[in-house]
Chain length 315, copies 2
């Protein structure tokens, strides 16, 4: 089985229990939950039974311990996760506004996440993987961009594959040089997995099909467009297909895209037909939103299959 690696932020999330605006008064919270887009991604990969690991850095505190225990228990290789002796584990406070939008208070760049650096363990992890998944959220500093692009080159040189989920927060795009860094990563991806309008981030194209054609011209083997409650589409040089989302009663949307991506990448690496991979990934996204907590809704392959079969039965 192919070994999947990702690089990026491992952090804890603290959630407001009730909707409202911001964090300007004491409110009821729940946490810490293990989180971070790459961490959620790789935890879902592990839960599917795929060998995998993450390069990251947490603090020498209970929050870091919680994240490491959780990832390890689910089967993620954490040998390349450093522990910063000084900086705290990254954190994100999140509160849902009444309109469904979210307010955040982040501590990422100045947390242990920001001290990620190449090490013997990270180099070994990069040399030992067959597939590298890159997330735009993780490219928040020059040194991380450098480390990630170096990893991409190593993995490609050894015949491995790359997937890329731009996963961009608006405020990050303002960082100098970030858009260029993202584009250079996108151009090296075998599997490009934008959410909705992210397809147009690096393209002058006006239509989806033109933008997809452009990405395929860069050399990508496939493009998967995630459309949230509208489902997802798959494009390669031979075929295009869409599958609808599975309607569920959403409890907490955080992590849905990461679980979708993890499942699609895993199925794709296992050589499944794209339609089946899309369906299972959709199921993973649907199951992810049924539980409160960013990483609490990850699923095994058996659970995804059962979920899909139950859906077939309901038709």
């Amino acid at each position: 089985m192919k070994h999947v690696l990702t690089i990026g932020e491992i952090l804890v999330e603290i959630m407001a229990l009730d909707p409202g605006n911001g964090f300007l008064e004491p409110i009821s919270l729940i946490g810490p939950f293990a989180s971070g887009a790459p961490a959620i991604f790789i935890d879902q990969v592990a839960r599917l039974g795929q060998p995998c690991g993450i390069i990251g850095c947490v603090g020498n505190d209970d929050f870091g311990e919680l994240c490491l225990q959780r990832l390890q228990a689910d089967g993620v290789d954490i040998g390349a996760v450093a522990r910063d002796p000084e900086r705290p584990t990254g954190s994100a406070f999140v509160r849902y506004r009444p309109d469904g939008q979210r307010d955040f208070v982040f501590n990422i760049r100045h947390s242990a996440c920001g001290s990620m650096a190449a090490s013997e363990a990270s180099q070994a992890a990069i040399r030992g993987c067959d597939h590298l998944h890159v997330m735009g959220t993780s490219l928040f500093s020059e040194s991380l961009v450098e480390m990630t692009t170096g990893a991409i080159q190593t993995v490609r040189a050894r015949g491995g594959t790359i997937s890329f989920d731009p996963n961009i927060r608006g405020e990050l795009l303002e960082l100098p040089g970030l858009r260029e860094a993202l584009k250079s990563v996108a151009m090296l991806a075998d599997l490009f997995m934008p959410s909705g309008q992210e397809l147009f981030l690096f393209s002058q194209a006006r239509t989806e099909s033109h933008a997809v054609a452009e990405v395929l011209d860069w050399g990508a083997r496939a493009v998967v467009v995630k459309r949230g409650t509208e489902g997802a589409s798959y494009f390669d040089r031979e075929q295009t297909m869409s599958v609808p989302a599975i309607p569920v009663r959403e409890v907490d949307p955080t992590g849905a895209g990461d679980c979708f991506g993890a499942t699609f990448v895993t199925c794709w690496l296992r050589g499944m037909p794209p339609e089946r991979a899309l369906s299972l990934a959709n199921a993973a996204g649907a199951m992810a939103v049924l539980k409160k907590g960013p990483m609490e809704g990850v699923s095994t392959m058996g659970e995804l299959q059962a979920f899909l079969e139950a859906g077939e039965g309901r038709k």
Copy 2:
């Protein structure tokens, strides 16, 4: 009325609702509460009607906004509080263990608290004050020690007074040079306010009276020893007195020592007899523990007087 200034960390506190060990699983929390020992101290000073201000730094986030709004609403001059555009507001997660001890996850040194630096506003605040209160917790970096010792010299040169609360967390004492920095501050204090065994931090003395004599020999005008539920004692060259604590049903001990200190300093600056100052300070400490939240139990002078009178009535 004399203008009181303090320098130090302004942060938010997030509290676990139920006792337990550490933060290794998602639990119910409440917060953010405005906190930080110097912030609690100065908020209590302001609530007593004394003109006052704080030099500090918060992040450009909701947590910083909450702290500033709270301090300003209570009458603290926040003109010398900077906002770091990048680093987050400091934070402390706290959970009470079943035995009453506390577990913390701190983010202070690498938060906006750590980017405190001398500025025109801070220099103006230092020149404009009559009394400077220094807390050991705030001396967590070389630049803060330098800024604080500079402020002490300026205030003393202008005829102002200094109070010093060592308020030491064990892990901070490990920082290189910190014990020496604390001692040099202690030796310049007019009012030295240790908690319990902190009296012996800088002394080879074996008994309380010898340690007190040593501090008075350095030039301190008075020593106030805080003993928590055992009350407090006052020492100067002429007199010694102790007052018992006021027994209350403790809801949350955080902030009690800071409210005690703020009230004693304020009363002392107003020229009250030490016994009265001790009694009011004890009342402030007692009232502080009646409310959940580090800064939620601050009191007005009227409330302290009424609380003491009610106690007299109960005798």
